[in-house]
Symmetry: C2
Subunit: 432 residues, 2 copies
């Protein structure tokens, strides 16, 4: 008998040389763009987006290779892994307890900061896109809801202000904000899905989607918080290298797959996993001298996250900016995004809080707005994309502007708040 | 004018939920298998291979999902990235200078340790596979050449013996060995490629392949060593996070793409990049308090490398072991692999070296043998695979056995060497 095919042969190998060359170009562009952004006192993510815009739009000069990468499924996979890791990492910065602790102030700030931009975004859609469905208008509102806690945190860190009261309120509200935004996304996407399948939209159906989203989040958080210490205690008994990192990634991936399986975005699960996991869970690992989980996740994020942002930037065609509709939509959307978050200031009650800084700190949309927009591009209703190319470009412009205005605006408003506090301290009668 | 398609729409998104669930399963299997291997005092990589074998062969019990992953192009991509990162990481453990320093002893050990197993493997092929072409026999010899420096280093580290003279000789020889093995792979694969295209195999053609491989390696090493300090000095001027890691990954990816473009395996480039980069290049980054590159690469390797080994294990079908030809081939191949490397002992001249330990330390083949075999599965000659499924299974068995026998054998032979040295010290006349 000859030696027969007794093992599974390798899958058609992806052209690894092509993939790694693309990764090298993307990483180089991300770091050069990031450097420029940081020198201009902007968050690095802005530079990564702009780098992507520049690379892809080299096709205007005849260089089409970078534009072709926007259709590459392997790069898309790595970008999606990157954004999962980013949301997991952002989730790790907070705990479920942190979310409960920030209490009334953060919750009121978060709710006002979600409801107002949602309504304003919906209104902008209804005003400028009368030919689109109500679903598309609602989706536009949804893209304005979630504050980018990553950008906010990084800006506060750059300014050395992570410990002030306003920072805690902003970060706490941003956390709740993200979850509210993700629930809104799930609800809007679910409602669109229901409409697409032709089933009439019922209050019961909407309630079911909301219940499913809420049940997943609450269930994942409650069960996760209960199970997580046991998971890591069990994992700590395993020998060999990389157990802590692997266990955390498994938690992230399983919750992401679970969220995806019940129809939520995979990033909802990754973020929930990040919230659940706490330093105390891997005390046994750090006691042995292993690195903290955050330090293990950081290099993976540094590798994969820029792929997401550069790719997002690459999806912008500069020719879009020649369309007055896009520019008008982008302008009104940006105004709605900035003004909408100033409603947060109304919620920043008590404790002599610098309300303006809270409102300004909630402005950046960053990755979450882009994620929403890219999900919207994958949703169709009666064969029409919910977020078409023009709307996507407008959202990207909104994200770029809100990201860009925050660092100087927040630095200015915090300095103003400090001057006022100093004035109150100098004239105690005025402060009483 | 309606808003038209002015941006590139996202590529058909891979089913991210499916991919991350597969990654979670692979990581869990890798860590459980690794734990068992470490408890049995084996290298973790053995446990990862066995875990893959177990998962995929659950199809014998009706669970076919894991077997289906062996045909998943996205998992294959991540595995290929993993092995690139591994070879880069292994390359980082040595420098170009280290290779020059080990000098005559390591070179003689390496050459004997490559020529002898190559000849024996070729002979085993000619003996047991008379129906296969001479090219297939030569390829089988090539799979036996390269010592796995990763496994060797990890075993020596486990035994706390990285600083003894024998360890330096073994590691130095393993480095040269890897390069020689990669050159042999390039030559054999190139010769097969020449035969496939029908061009008669000429000494000139063979020489050209060898020259191309040698030119790439020497060129990459010489130019790389000259350019690398400037590259990192330039990168150190960039602001923002993750610049060191990105710069190193770019070097790795560019050399991998370059190697791939001139027809070498991408891992050759990744390994060369690792050899070129040295701690001194990123002194500026560590001076600022950033982590060492090795610590930044390690988490990425911990994430992606197990994907490669578990996937490799998953390519084994246990039903292959029912074929006497496979078992016979695996047995003779394993004997050739172990006996062939004992020729190294003849080269371990001078300095009162424990020759047996040098020979035993060169035994493990690990990832490099598997990489060779998986490359062989992608090569065809007149429509027939150079490494067919049965031969691949035999190579996997050889890798598993050589990996498994090394830790206990090396522990025993080092203890024996110490006893002999102690006896010499007690009776100085006998040692003189």
């Amino acid at each position: 008998m000859p030696l027969t095919a007794v093992v599974a042969l390798p899958a058609a190998a992806p052209p690894i040389g092509h993939v790694v060359l693309a990764l090298a170009a993307i990483l180089a562009a991300a770091k050069l763009g990031g450097d420029l952004a940081v020198r201009l006192r902007q968050p690095a993510v802005l530079g990564e987006l702009v780098a992507g815009v520049v690379l892809a739009n080299l096709d205007l000069l005849g260089v089409t290779w970078f534009r072709s990468l926007t259709g590459d499924a392997t790069i898309e996979l790595l970008a999606q892994l990157g954004v999962l890791i980013l949301l997991f990492q952002v989730g790790l910065e907070s705990t479920v307890r942190d979310m409960l602790k920030v209490g009334v102030t953060s919750t009121v700030v978060a709710v006002l900061g979600v409801v107002t931009p949602f309504a304003l975004g919906w209104g902008v859609g209804a005003l400028l896109l009368p030919g689109h469905s109500t679903y598309a208008h609602a989706f536009l509102g949804a893209t304005l809801t979630a504050t980018s806690v990553g950008i906010t945190a990084r800006v506060l860190k750059d300014l050395g202000k992570t410990q002030i009261a306003e920072a805690r309120v902003i970060l706490g509200a941003a956390v709740i904000d993200d979850v509210l935004g993700l629930v809104i996304l799930a609800v809007v996407a679910g409602v669109i899905g229901a409409a697409e399948t032709g089933v009439a939209l019922s209050a019961g159906g909407t309630g079911l989607i909301l219940a499913k989203a809420a049940l997943f989040l609450v269930g994942a958080l409650v069960i996760g918080v209960a199970l997580s210490p046991r998971l890591f205690a069990g994992a700590a008994r395993l020998r060999g290298r990389g157990v802590l990192l692997a266990t955390a990634l498994i938690a992230c991936f399983v919750l992401a797959a679970l969220a995806s399986a019940i129809g939520l975005a995979a990033i909802v699960g990754a973020y929930a996993a990040g919230l659940i996991l706490e330093d105390v869970h891997w005390r046994e690992f750090t006691r042995r001298g292993e690195q903290r989980l955050q330090d293990l996740i950081a290099p993976i994020a540094e590798f994969l996250v820029p792929v997401f942002f550069v790719l997002m930037g690459m999806r912008v065609e500069l020719s879009a900016f020649a369309h007055p509709e896009v520019l008008g939509l982008a302008l009104l959307l940006t105004v709605a995004a900035i003004v909408g978050k100033q409603a947060c200031a109304l919620g920043a009650i008590g404790g002599g809080l610098d309300r303006l800084s809270v409102g300004v700190g909630m402005i950046p949309r960053g990755e979450v707005g882009l994620i929403f927009a890219s999900i919207g591009m994958t949703l169709t209703l009666h064969g029409e994309r919910i977020v078409d190319a023009g709307v996507y470009s407008a959202v990207v412009i909104m994200v770029m502007v809100t990201t860009m205005v925050t660092p100087p605006a927040l630095a200015w408003s915090l300095a103003r708040g400090e001057r006022r506090a100093a004035a109150r301290a100098a004239g105690p009668d005025a402060a009483a």
